[in-house]
């Protein structure tokens, strides 16, 4: 029996195929675990659904960024040409908005793209120089190459080191190890 230490991050199990990982993620959810995470070297189709992940906030952030870029860009040009430095060119209207569309469009795309990238990074909590999982040698060696991992985390209410280890072994996980944060 392994003792549950205060700095235990969780229990990690390794799987050979993505199908085993999806299966394990489903079973973990059915078993009542909520704080667990799957790791894969590429985006596995069906994994988000198996883990019950809901729609994320990246699209909303992108929309807001795009609107800010577009509206900000348009009204900035309006302010420059109509208020800050009005220039009468052959009596043409100061609010010559069709000529501002290209810049407005570009700034919409710029605002949306910057928000998509930085929003994604921020929601993912990246950059994050250290993570307890990097202490596990097999994880560092295989998680970004050819293996699939499932980690049941210690902050889960239902977490018990021995139970979780047995649960992962029951799912045919290999190299079930305790992840320690130190």
């Amino acid at each position: 029996m392994i003792e549950h230490r205060s700095h235990t991050y969780g229990v990690l199990g390794e799987f050979v195929t993505e199908h085993e990982l999806i299966h394990a993620a489903e079973k973990a959810r059915e078993a009542g675990y909520r704080r667990y995470e799957a790791y894969a070297p590429f985006p596995v189709e069906g994994l988000s659904e198996a883990m019950g992940l809901k729609r994320n906030k990246v699209p909303l952030i992108t929309l807001i960024g795009g609107l800010c870029g577009g509206l900000g860009g348009f009204f900035f040009q309006y302010w420059c040409n109509v208020y800050s430095y009005p220039l009468n060119i052959a009596g043409r209207p100061l609010n010559s908005w069709p000529a501002w569309i290209p810049v407005t469009f570009e700034l919409t795309v710029l605002g949306a793209s910057l928000s998509a990238v930085f929003g994604m990074l921020a929601l993912n909590g990246l950059p994050q120089p250290h993570h307890p999982l990097f202490n596990v040698e097999r994880f560092s060696k295989h998680a970004t190459s050819d293996r699939f991992f499932l980690c049941i985390e210690a902050r889960d209410k239902k977490f018990d080191l021995a139970d979780a280890s047995r649960f992962l072994q029951g799912l045919n996980a290999q190299h079930v190890t305790e992840v320690v944060d130190d």
């Binding site: 995470e37 590429f42 985006p43 040409n81 700034l107 949306a112 993912n124 970004t144």
Partner: protein
């Protein structure tokens, strides 16, 4: 394009030339691609190529340095031909960049699997081409240290840029394009940087790749958001890439100069950009796959598909030339009619005929599958198309400017040594950056290749 073959996704074609050679697993694609960067020794060929490119960059430094000392008078430009090589090269380079975005964004949205092994270096090509392109308008201003005048900033003079001018649209279009391309490329790189971090031997490499990977560990929640962000970026880059060359064409078509003032310019410029870009992707892909044994990943199917895209966009470009010609005659505008005559019989008509030969006649060979699957022929063809697209911009810029409305304002243009030195220098810069890129970053997306392995093994079951 009606080709008398089964559609590309039919099992027959896939068996003939798959997008990924059979027998690969997650580990083999990872090791094979990562090894190019991590364990492969610097070869003599690489050193020689890098050395030549580096020398050309020194030529660029010299040319730009001399330009800064003496001013744009060292070039062949003068009134009435204020736009010489600088603008020709600018439009040419920015067009080349477009294929990278097309491959990475549009083919991604269209779910084309064959894009996977070529998107990474095509995106790198985009970035480097945009860098070369951006240099030209900058040094063409004559006082590049004043370039910040073009951006809206609260100056003490209380002035703002002229937002109604296509030249300012260009500033926004090109800088947005550069920024978004760089982000798209970097986001695609993050999982691969994590792979390199985990496979690198030695502290310096681990630390550098580790910092760039930002702690990526392939968590499902991260992938979930990552995929949303990547899809959104692809969706944003698609209209962006179409807008960039449209805005570049506005530089010409908003002016009233004969030969420039036509509504066909935006679509015809975009098609030309994709055409030249695919030619450049082939120019790079063919030596790359040979030098690094990447035939398993960049297969004949990729080369053939790219050849077909070139043929299709080449035909659109031919259609553009035809209608440019036809509409000038049909308009009855005597200046436009005169310009057509000048293209055919004027002092630069040999450029025009060379352009038709390179861009319209030669690519018709691509109708034959024998040619499309002949690597050496494709390489030569890609060089010819690159040359042809450069000639196209030369014809547009120079013939129109030398022959505008009044005979008293006519002139002649010829490039000087420094024009050629600057152009050759940017070719060197582009090549040098590509050489560095294949040595320090994975030239093929490893994470996406793993996805392809998963998909292809699924299909074989």
């Amino acid at each position: 394009m009606s080709v008398s073959e089964p559609p590309l996704d039919s099992p027959e074609i896939r068996r003939l030339s798959p997008v990924l050679a059979p027998g690969h697993t997650y580990a083999t694609v990872t090791d094979k691609i990562a090894a190019i960067v991590l364990t492969r020794r610097v070869s003599l060929g690489w050193l020689a190529g890098f050395g030549i490119a580096f020398t050309m960059v020194m030529v660029l430094n010299l040319a730009v340095g001399w330009l800064i000392i003496k001013g744009v008078g060292i070039w062949g430009i003068n009134i009435p031909i204020g736009w010489g090589f600088a603008i020709v090269n600018f439009v040419w380079w920015i067009g080349i960049g477009h294929a990278g975005t097309l491959i990475s964004a549009i083919l991604f949205l269209l779910n084309q699997k064959w894009r996977t092994s070529i998107n990474r270096f095509a995106e790198a090509m985009t970035l480097f081409a945009v860098a070369c392109a951006g240099l030209f308008p900058l040094i063409h201003t004559g006082r590049p240290w004043m370039a910040y005048y073009m951006f809206p900033y609260p100056s003490t003079m209380g002035l703002w840029p002229q937002f109604r001018s296509p030249l300012i649209w260009d500033v926004f279009a090109v800088s947005t394009y550069g920024t978004v391309s760089a982000m798209f490329w970097f986001v695609g790189l993050i999982p691969d940087l994590a792979t390199l971090r985990d496979h690198a031997i030695g502290k310096p490499k681990q630390i550098i790749y580790g910092m760039l990977a930002m702690g990526w560990r392939g968590s499902a929640r991260h992938w979930h958001r990552y995929q949303s962000a990547y899809l959104l970026l692809a969706g944003l880059a698609t209209p962006l890439v179409l807008s960039v060359h449209t805005v570049v064409s506005f530089d010409f078509s908003v002016a009233i100069v004969p030969g420039w003032h036509t509504t066909i310019f935006p679509p015809y410029f975009v098609a030309g950009a994709i055409y030249s870009g695919f030619a450049m992707v082939l120019t790079i892909a063919i030596p790359l796959r040979a030098a690094y044994d990447l035939e398993d990943f960049i297969t004949m199917r990729h080369l053939e598909n790219m050849a077909m895209v070139m043929l299709a966009t080449g035909l659109i470009v031919a259609y553009g030339y035809f209608f440019e010609f036809f509409l000038s005659l049909y308009s009855g505008n005597k200046f436009d009619v005169f310009l057509v005559q000048q293209r055919l019989h004027g002092p630069y008509n040999h450029f025009y005929f060379a352009l038709i030969l390179c861009n319209i006649l030669t690519p018709q060979l691509l109708w034959f599958q024998k040619i499309r699957t002949n690597v050496a022929m494709l390489f030569i063809m890609s060089l010819i198309i690159n040359l042809g697209m450069w000639l196209e911009r030369f014809v547009i810029v120079v013939i129109s400017l030398t022959r505008d409305f009044m005979p008293s304002a006519w002139g002649r243009y010829s490039a000087t040594f420094w024009d050629y030195a600057t152009f050759a220098g940017t070719l060197g810069l582009f090549t040098m950056l590509l050489f560095l890129f294949v040595r320090v970053l994975p030239a093929i997306s490893i994470a996406e290749m793993r996805e392809l392995v998963a998909e292809t093994t699924e299909e074989h079951k």
